[in-house]
Every structure is written in structure tokens, then in C-alpha cells.
Amino acid sequence: MTTQLTVNDFTGLYIFMLAAFAGWVVIGNVPAILHTPLMSGSNFVHGIVVVGGLFVLLNASTGLEQAIGFAAVLLGAGNAAGGYAVTVRMLAMFKPSDAKPHRKRHVRAGHHRAKKA
């Protein structure tokens, strides 16, 4: 554990302060048209809690810790996967006038257009 990064109380405060400021500024310019996708998108971002759940579960040494750790990963994974799925669905619907009209009304799983770099 000696090589592990340690965040002491004050560096913790600085990280929180800067992160809060960044969040405030980044979201500050969002037009109202994107409020719902944005709420969903930020909801997805705190799904990172699943990483904390994995840490706790892998370090569990009693049955109780394993059970609660399992719940943490289960819930965190639901937060991340669900948040991603609904946000992608919502944002895929925003199209400008010049875009080709889309026949499909419901985007289904597995239909990711192969446009990833």
C-alpha cells in the first residue's frame, strides 16, 4: 500500500472544489433543449460508483462484506449501463433539418452505426 496515492484532507478539499467548479462551468452553457439528456448524462457519469463497488467487493473478507459489495456493484452497474442506454437513445434523436430523415422510431440495442473511430 506504500506506493498508493494518498489524498489527504486538504488535497481532497482542493479536488472537490475544482471538480465542482468544472461541473458548474461545463453545464452552465447547456441550452434548455438538452436539459433532460443532460440530467440523464450526468446521472450516467456518477455511475462510476461501480468502480468503488468493485474495489470494496474484491477486498471483501466476510460474508456480510461480500453481500453488500455485491449489492454495490449490482446497483452501480445498473446506474452506469441504464444511464448510458437512455442518454444515447435520447441524443440519437436530435437531428438538424438537413440530415437525412430517419424511418426508425425506436432505436434498438445492437444497432450502433459503425461510425466509431
Binding site: 472537490f16 470494496v56 456493484v73 422510431r105
Partner: protein, 482 residues
Amino acid sequence: MLPSLIAQIVIGTTGFVAAILFLYGLKRMSSPDTAASGIRVAGLGMLVAVLAAFLYAFDVDAAARPHLGVNLGLAALALAIGGSIAWWAGRTVKMTAMPQMVALYNGLGGGAAGAIAAVELFGNRAVGVTQLVVTLLGALIGAISLSGSLIAWAKLDSILKRPLQFRAQQAINAVVAIAMLAVAVLIVVAAEGLALPLSLPELICVFFGLALLLGILATLPIGGADMPVVISIYNACTGVAVGLEGYVLQNPALMIAGMVVGAAGTLLTLLMAKAMNRSVTSVLFKAYGPAKKHAHGAMTGSEKPIEAGDAAIFMRYAKSVIIVPGYGLAVSQGQQKLYDFVKLLLAAGVGVRFAIHPVAGRMPGQMDVLLAEAGVPYDMIFQLADINDQFATTDVALVIGANDVVNPAARTDKSSPVYGMPILNVDEAKHAYVVKRGQGKGYAGIENALFYAPNTEMVYGDAAAVLTKMIEAVRGLGSAAA
């Protein structure tokens, strides 16, 4: 020791990369042109961080080493079950049900943060009082967010129908909150080794019980109209809880992601509350209350009904039409029909725009999503501030399933509960058609002078059915002329 060192470096690096990708992704989500790629960027960050988290296996506590195989299996199982169920639900949920879905996912995140805190607390792992206090703070915020979000979900999903209000509610909530904080103090004392009548695990159970109860009690009295603000508050809360538990686990990626969401969610909450003309404190602590009896006699004139077809033909020969969609449109699933009708008007040379009130639908921006789902290009959609002064020069304003957000009383009548709320100035248009289910009142339960105005006519009926008739009328016109 080399594997554990490499694991630490990889986890640290991927966490850092994830934090950058989250911020960059959220930035890209702030414009419609780049938003779709923004969520993919953030998703990539999540994928990298989650995969790297399995490297914790090379760096576990000595006590956990014998259980590592089982724990890895449990982790994979939990990821697979939680991830796939939520993924399936998110892919299949109807767009109109989106607000409650976000509430549900948000509750899951709060629960996960609470569960992490529970492991830390039961294992008495906190080093020092500060870490213990931060753990407790994250635990209570996460637990409140979990139970509160579940109540919000149940309300929006109409499982819970009415706001539950009873006497001395605020006092009871205050007692529960104080008791919860007192137990938290006892946990700190017990963890320091002092003997108490209750053991540490018992105290922790009571603490979580009280926090969950508080989330339920605080959310029950809040009415459906205020739910978007409440979901947004809990979204920010979960972010803060995740950030705090990130500090406890010494994981900067969790700290940054959590606190970014905490701040962003807070700002979003304030924006929503402002758009609804409600303060956040009044949402939380003052129920909307039944509207005071408004004298019906105050309304002059009468509601003038008109056939859907006649209204449609009038619009077909108008120069400009502004459409104001509301929740009634979403309820009848008429968005697609509306866009079909709009396409007919556009083909006939009518200038058509959509005007969206900030709280149209049940969540700010939800109406934009519903129209986008129907295929309406976003450059036809205008927000209140950008279009409100153009009603006066518009031939027809077509209101579909909206009521309170077009009530002129918000501008003129100081005794009205909606007074001061920004409204769309439909009453200034040369002519207004209001599509409405019946002669009932809106969500706030008050009369709307717009419906009685001399240049307003009412089209009664379900929005989708009315729009079907309107499409038929305009199409019939086309074939008759041909």
C-alpha cells in the same frame, strides 16, 4: 509486489483518463451538434475505468486474498446482472416514461454509494475521525437519494397517486433527521472504542434505517408537478455521495466525477426551479397545496368550440403557425401525427415553428426529446425566450395539451398561483386554437383566461385523434383541388 505496483499505476492512469473523458464528454453534451458523441466519449471513460478496476485483484487486502476467486466471480456476476437488466430497461422504456427511469437509475447510484459506505462502516475501516465522518456523510446522502428517488419513481409512474400530506410532517422529518445525526455521532464515538448500550453494527443499521426513512418522508408530500426538481436534487445528491465515498476509497476519479455531477446537478436544479417559478426551498418544504377557489365569474366570454377539420383548413391557408405542445400531446402519443400534420402545412408553404416552454412535459427538455423522437428537426424548435415576442406577428398559435404555461393570468393576475411564472404569449397571436381533452382545468387547477378570449377557439378531444382529423381535412382539400 511488482504486479500490485503495475495494477496501481494502471488503475491510477485509467481513472485519470476517465475523469478527463467525463468532463470532455459533458462539455460535448452541451450542444445538440456534438451531444451524441459526448455521451460516447463519457461511455468510453466508464468502460476503461470499469475494466481496469478488475486489476484491484492484484492488490487486495491480506484478509481478502483467500476469497479472491469467489469475489471475482461475484463481481462479474453483479456487473452482468445489473448491467444487462438496466441496459434492457433503458433500451425499451417509452420516451414519455424517461423522467421516472432517470429517477430509478439515480436511486441505484445512491444505493451503490450507500452500500460502499456500509462495507467501510461495518468493517470499521476508516482511518481517523475525518474519514469516518466523510463516510457517514456519503452514506446518509446516498441512502436518502436511494429511497427518495424510489418514491419519486413511484409517483411519476403513477404507482403512488397523490402527494401524501399529514399534520406536523415537517416536525416529524426534523425529528428523524436529528435522530439520524445523533446516531451518526454515536457511531463515531463507538468507533473510537467507547462502550455503548448498542454495538457498532446495531448503530449502523439504525443509522441507515433512519436515513432511508428520511428520504421517503421528505419525498412523499411533494406533488407531481415538482418532481423534476426533486429528481434533479437527488441526482446532485448521488453525485456528492459518490464523490465523498471516492475520498474514503482514496479514488480521485470517483471524487472528480461525483463532485462534477454534484455541481452540475445543483445548477440544473436551480435552472429548473427558476423556469417553474418555484424556489428550491418551497419545493422541498411547502406543498403546492390545493389551489384557492378562483371565482369562475371572473372569466368573461365563453369557450368557443370548433371542429378539428375547420381549424386545420384555416391553418393550411395561414402564413405562419406556432405550435405549443404540452404534456397532453405526450400522453396521447400524438407527436408523430403532429409532425405529419406539420409536414402537410410546410408543403403548403406555411411557416411552422414549435415553441417549447421550459417545463413542457414532466421534465425540462422532455418535450424537445419527444419531438426529436418523432423526427422534428431541432432548428424548428424554439425556446420561450427566443420566440415569445413573435406571437404578436403570427397568424395562428396552436396549443396542444398545454394549459398553465399559456395562462395569461401569470402576467396579469397577482392573486393567481401561477402569477410570475414565465408563459408563452399565445394570447398575443392573431388567432389561437387550443386542443384539449375536455373543459377541465390544468395541473395547477386554475381557470385559463386564454380559453375565453375572443380570438381563441377550442378543439375538444384527444390530441392524437384531433390531429388525425386535421391531417384528413388537409389531405381531403388537396385531392379536391387536384
